[in-house]
Amino acid sequence: MKSKVRALAPALLASCLAGAASIAHAADTIKVGILHSLSGTMAISETTLKDTMLMLIEEQNKKGGLLGKKLEPVVVDPASNWPLFAEKARELLEKDKVAATFGCWTSVSRKSVLPVFEELNGLLFYPVQYEAEESSKNVFYTGAAPNQQAIPAVDYLMNEVGVKRWVLAGTDYVYPRTTNKLLEAYLKAKGVAAKDIMINYTPFGHSDWQSIVSDIKKFGSAGKKTAVVSTINGDANVPFYKELGNQGISAEDIPVVAFSVGEEELSGIDTKPLVGHLAAWNYFQSVDSEANEDFIKAWKKFIKNDKRVTNDPMEAHYIGFNMWVKAVEKAGTTDPAAVQEAIIGVAVPNLSGGYSAMMPNHHITKPVLIGEIQEDGQFETVWQTSGLVVGDAWSDFLPGSKDIISDWRRPLSCGNYNVKTGKCSGQNY
């Protein structure tokens, strides 16, 4: 019998090498899906996150893996194509049977994969700041909700800079529109008159900012301190700041606080026109803590490039990955249902020297930092919240969502519970 098997083995190997190997593999590894665009427009931001995940998995494997098994990354490329995100997500869950997926950047890509993760009961860790108004059983939002980024930034400008007039400038898509609607409601609740708020939208990749900057300049010359709250998306920022500089508007005249400009974006541009302008994040590479120093060192070593920077979504993946690891250890299995239950309440160190915890609404606690852009493309923290801020899935400032809460613990187990009517909307998000 034995010899027969031996005799058969080469034939078997030759005929179905790939199949056999993958079955053998699946038995002693835990697969982790990485769903980030490696080509197309979003590759600029998402490639870094793929590398971050590979580094985190490698480090975890060096520590002995998880539940005695090695972690195995499964990288797919959804190519900045939103429908392809859903297809690739299905592939990860059905074919590769990943235990958890880390991925997506734009809100539209997240919305595209959401039904897939809910249908197949997968786990998605989403690392980017977003507009909230969502809470899915299957998604863990490790990036900032508006109350962890936009609202504190506005508070800072209002209280510490004395801003009286507001320009809300954004790229024309869902994140800026929702955020600006929320900020407008918030500003009005704080007593800002409608004529002191200017809202402006521009197309993706807008590069001709002359008229808009000139309008901002006029808007800001009414004798009241003016600031720009920018939800302008990555690429369009450089020409915007250049135009501000060229038209003679300095950060001291009209400061711009941005929610999409981080170290990574700054590393590709001439930073001179941006110096002194602001950004609000939950992490800066310049944060002074032991954990951060180790993380930066490990990153530079892993990517083999001393010039690469770290940024906020990378920290979000760091936190999310460690939370998942801890939850799996706590549950003793990678079964999504068990992990969903175990992960709530899990707290892991973040990179700014504190601990972040997973809340029942699948959002996490984070500090909020306001930084000024420096010549070297780094941020100097000028202000930060005194404690951690809990991510709010449903904003308290929008009429449609202020009565809604999300709590995925039993017995409520609802992401969309209306406290007034006492009903769960039934939809999963």
Binding site: E160, I269, E380
Partner: protein, 544 residues
């Protein structure tokens, strides 16, 4: 912002440096003395709130402590720290990973320490602006006109009665015209609040026609709040005079914006006007040829990091050669097999565009790269307080016109141009006359591609340089060429400029997104009516 636009730009740095030097000289160094106001002020700097810190700065400035000015200057430069061990106020200079510190009051050398042992006193925009203005108002009597102007300009934004008195005394001796004008505005702004009616009316008269935002705001306050009818009427009249002037300036500004947007469109489209317009090749990789030009600028700047100001002059010919050669390669390698088959050409060149993009993405970086602006391209030319033309846009308008003129000369006055026109009008006849049509095709395509590369150099100064740069301009380029009339260079110029101007006039009331849509709808309708564009080609060539 406000009146500080008087000295925005490059002079700011020079002015500041001068102020700092002046202060350092007047502040003799001495041991810390018993000065409770100063100590309170320093104590307030430890607060987290910037409002409290601002109070601290005011206390320090008012304390009369001999080291006060020096401490403020250190704070302005963000070089002021508390030493954690004894809360001593120190001045720190970065020295590698450590800091070299000295006592902020006595300048006593305290050695080198790790940054963990220091607490930085953080400043923000507003605090720095406050410190700057505190320092500036002390400089109204400075011998340097630029410094005086800075000081006066600060007063326009934040009037300070004591300083206004100094201005009143200084005005007679003021020799510099600009500074005197600013001083008169400051005084007028103070006088419109005067009890004396004649003084107030005189001041309103003085402010009438001034384009400074501070003047406008001051008048608006009188027009809104004054209880006296005469004053109210005078202010309203002055305001309407200002309004008329403002509108004129706004019109001029919008026109400039339109022309500059138009010149970008012309630059991006003019290479296509040759490859598509003259040769009839639908080149979807045109945008990527522009991108290659922009990347050439980046590489030129990498090679000559110390001569950024000159880099563009090297980059222009370099980009022409690089994109031109790639263009010739595309023509010889792919397009020449596909003449007369527009659909295949479209697909093939679209494929080439994807290949070029991915080559740059893997070869250089998926990230955008930093192309620096030469110093002569930054800043703006100030016509008056509300109208300023940015230098980079001015240069690009001029550059677009030069490129256009050069192309026109090549096509109309050179042998190559003659052959190009001959081949495009009647290929068999041109061949019969001994024109090597294959060679002419390659040269024409190379010329169009090279011009695209040159456009890339100009665009690198305005927008991001990344793998996706080309995609942003390909649609606009086709739009301009089709609108202008295929095969007509003048059409491209007129179409580009008019689309730019129309876009900019629509933008203020329709918004950037809608303006673009409106322009597209307009072009669709226009093409329905006149399928051959603004300047259709006439004669037999048009039929072929």
């Amino acid at each position: 912002m406000g009146a500080s636009q008087f000295f925005w730009g490059r002079t700011t740095v020079a002015v500041l440096r001068f102020m700092l030097l002046g202060l350092l000289v007047v502040a003799p160094l001495s041991q810390a003395s018993d000065n409770p106001t100063f100590d309170q002020g320093v104590e307030l700097l430890k607060a987290r709130s910037f409002n409290t810190k601002t109070d601290g700065v005011d206390k320090i400035a008012a304390s009369g402590h001999p080291a006060a000015a020096q401490v403020l200057v250190y704070l302005l430069k963000s070089d002021l720290y508390f030493r954690e061990s004894d809360q001593r106020l120190v001045y720190g200079q970065r020295d590698g990973r450590n800091y070299h510190i000295s006592d902020a009051l006595t300048s006593e050398d305290l050695g080198t320490v790790n940054k963990r042992e220091l607490d930085k006193i953080k400043t923000n925009n507003r605090l720095r602006a406050h410190i700057r203005s505190t320092i500036a108002t002390l400089n109204l009597t400075s011998p340097d006109a630029a410094v005086r102007l800075a000081g006066v300009s600060q007063l326009l934004d934040k009037p300070d009665p004591d300083a206004v008195d100094i201005v009143r005394r200084q005005l007679d001796q003021e020799s510099d015209k600009t500074v005197a004008e600013a001083m008169r505005t400051v005084l007028a702004l103070e006088d419109i609040k005067s009890e004396d009616k004649n003084t107030a009316l005189g001041a309103i008269e003085q402010l009438s026609g001034s384009l400074l935002p501070a003047a406008r705001n001051g008048l608006q306050r009188i027009a809104d709040n004054s209880t006296d009818k005469d004053r109210k009427r005078a202010a309203a009249k002055a305001l309407s005079a200002i309004q008329t002037k403002l509108q004129m300036n706004e019109l001029a500004e919008t026109l400039f914006f339109g022309l500059s947007l138009g010149s970008v469109l012309v630059l991006a489209a003019i290479g296509l006007a040759i490859t598509f317009g003259v040769m009839g090749v639908i080149n979807m990789a045109h945008g990527e040829l522009i991108m290659l030009g922009a990347y050439t600028t980046y590489i030129v700047q990498l090679l000559m990091p110390n001569h950024i100001d000159l880099s563009l002059f090297v980059a222009i010919p370099a980009a022409f050669v690089v994109s031109g050669l790639v263009g010739i390669g595309i023509e010889r390698g792919v397009i020449r097999f596909l003449y007369g088959r527009p659909l295949e050409t479209l697909l093939a060149t679209f494929g080439i565009s994807l290949i070029l993009q991915q080559l740059v993405r893997t070869g250089i970086s998926a990230q955008n790269v930093a192309v620096e602006n030469p110093s002569w391209m930054s800043g703006s030319l100030e016509i008056n307080a509300v109208l300023s033309l940015t230098y980079n846009r001015l240069y690009i308008i001029v550059f677009a016109l030069i490129v256009f003129a050069a192309l026109l000369v090549i096509l109309k006055k050179t042998a190559l141009g003659l052959q190009v026109r001959a081949v495009s009008q009647n290929r068999p006849m041109a061949r019969a006359m001994g024109v090597r049509s294959a060679w002419v095709d390659a040269m024409t395509f190379g010329l169009g591609s090279g011009i695209a590369g040159v456009a890339g150099v100009a665009l690198s100064q305005l927008t991001n340089v990344g793998p996706n740069l080309g995609q942003a301009y390909i649609i606009d380029s086709f739009m301009v060429v089709v609108f202008g009339g295929v095969g007509n260079l003048w059409g491209t110029l007129v179409a580009g400029m008019s689309l730019g101007v129309v876009n900019k006039f629509l933008e203020p009331w329709a918004g950037a997104v809608l303006a673009k849509i409106l322009v597209l709808v307009f072009i669709i309708l226009f093409i329905q009516k006149r399928p051959r564009g603004l300047f259709p080609q006439k004669g037999r060539a048009a039929e072929g």
